[in-house]
Amino acid sequence: MLDVLQRAFHDAVLGGDDKALAGLTAAPRGDIAARIAVYRNTVQGSLVGVLAAAFPVTQRIVGPAFFADLAQRFVVAAPPHAPQLSAYGADFPAFVAHEHDNHGLAYLADVARVEWARAESYFAADAPALDPAALSAIAPPALDGTVLMLHPATRLVCSAYAVYRIWQVNQPSIKDVPAVDLAWPQSVLLSRSDGRVALRLLSAGDAAFITAIQSGVALGAAAAQAYDTEPAFDLEAGLRDHLIGATFRA
């Protein structure tokens, strides 16, 4: 029956077990294993390609061969459940963390998190950005109680490593990658404006501010949390950058 055949195909192209499928299929000439391999190569190779396109910096850091091996193991362990492949790879950073926590590459999972946040931002829903005039129209006493909403395309990634710097020095235009002090906590804000996703390094206070906004905290209390984290936090400058970068939605 068809469901039995389809399970056999699944086991052959993902599990590497040809036995059941070979019993149901035939090649008019040559070896059936070679014909089954065409399908296996397409399924696994195309999905590795999808991950390589979503995680170019991760790939550049570890090299194409290492990345292909890592991605291939992920594909087999966690194949997609929907044909919308722009959503495939959300679990890849956690897989990288699990694989490499003890291999001196602990920062790699956070780099992958930045890249996934970038993919999510790129494909997120459209919405008008908060107009600076709308914010300045609110009288100062009411400002503290104002609740801002993050734009659907805004993401924040906080890391114990210098993920922004690592991302920056591993862009295609940079040929000689300088040494990076990895153990430097950095927070990256990703936002989309004019169809482009921009990455920005946030201060610790600003990251605390955005984290608070994200959980629905009003402007005044969010600013207080930012000052707690970083006494020198400059709310006015921070807000100005967020308004220019379309961090908030209208």
Binding site: G30, R35, D126
Partner: protein, 281 residues
């Protein structure tokens, strides 16, 4: 821009080319009479990819070609996927909607390939149920494309042409004839390509695909792989002439997915297809 796909030769829309197709003033003649997109590339919530498709749609008729519906899945279709497709079609208003005689989903896992089906009565029941489900959910006819195949099944009593004809009769679906797939499949698994084309119900064929393939291995190990990475080969052009003679002119698409050349090469291939149709008229 009207919805209907003209009976002429169009091209598959690929990312590096979309900007070129939009770069001319609005009143300039169209670079291609129509374009086709892969539906699954546009199921995201928003962002520049959808904006670009909307801009293309304002200038060109668009056909939506699916690669992920998995019409041959024994477990049936994914209602969420159908819902997303219906939403996409609401605003794109595609002139044609097509899918494949293949499957990709089993036990909820999406195997990213167009996997082959045996041509049995059991399989025909699954296909007819799924095609009818899709046509009901989308509120329109879909065209079903013959796949490229790399192996045979020990139990597959019907020919592919007979199987497709049966689907047309039972569901009212149309057909998308991929001439390169006919060639690739017959070289890889046996059968007569011209026979296949001549046995198709001509009225049901709403579109034709043309593409290039790669050759790997030698002797008994020689296999043609449907890579969409080269120009259409002479044997496939000859089969296309046979197809046009049998069917009459049909909307014809040049597909190219990897090792993508500049737009001019795709337009040149489309011109060759247009000439074949003109010569046959």
């Amino acid at each position: 821009m009207p919805d209907a796909i003209p009976v002429s030769a169009g091209i598959g829309l690929r990312h590096p080319h979309d900007q070129l197709l939009l770069s001319e003033p609005g009143d300039a003649p169209l670079r291609t009479p129509w374009v086709e997109v892969h539906s699954e590339n546009f199921l995201c919530d928003g962002g520049p990819r959808l904006a670009q498709l909307a801009a293309i749609r304002r200038r060109y008729p668009v056909s939506c070609h699916g690669v992920g519906l998995s019409l041959g899945s024994a477990e049936g279709l994914d209602p969420e996927h159908l819902k997303r497709l219906r939403h996409l079609f609401t605003w794109v208003r595609p002139g044609l909607v097509s899918e494949h005689l293949s499957w990709s989903v089993t036990q909820g896992v999406y195997l990213n390939d167009l996997l082959p089906l045996p041509y049995t009565e059991d399989c025909a029941r699954v296909l007819c149920r799924n095609i009818s489900h899709a046509q009901d959910a989308l509120g329109r006819q879909i065209l079903v494309e013959n796949p490229s195949r790399y192996l045979n099944f020990t139990d597959s009593p019907m020919t592919e042409a007979a199987f497709l004809t049966l689907l047309v009769q039972r569901t009212g679906c149309g057909l998308l004839l991929d001439v390169n797939n006919v060639y690739v499949s017959t070289v890889n698994t046996g059968g007569d390509a011209e026979d296949f084309i001549r046995s198709l119900p001509a009225d049901a064929v709403g579109e034709i695909h043309l593409a290039g393939h790669s050759v790997v291995g030698e002797g008994d190990d020689r296999v043609l792989i449907d890579t969409h990475s080269t120009r259409v080969c002479p044997e496939v052009w000859a089969l296309y002439r046979t197809a046009i003679a049998h069917l009459g002119p049909r909307p014809t698409l040049i597909e190219w997915d990897s090792d993508l050349p500049e737009l001019a090469v795709l337009l040149d291939e489309a011109r060759t297809a247009a000439l074949v149709m003109k010569d046959a008229a």
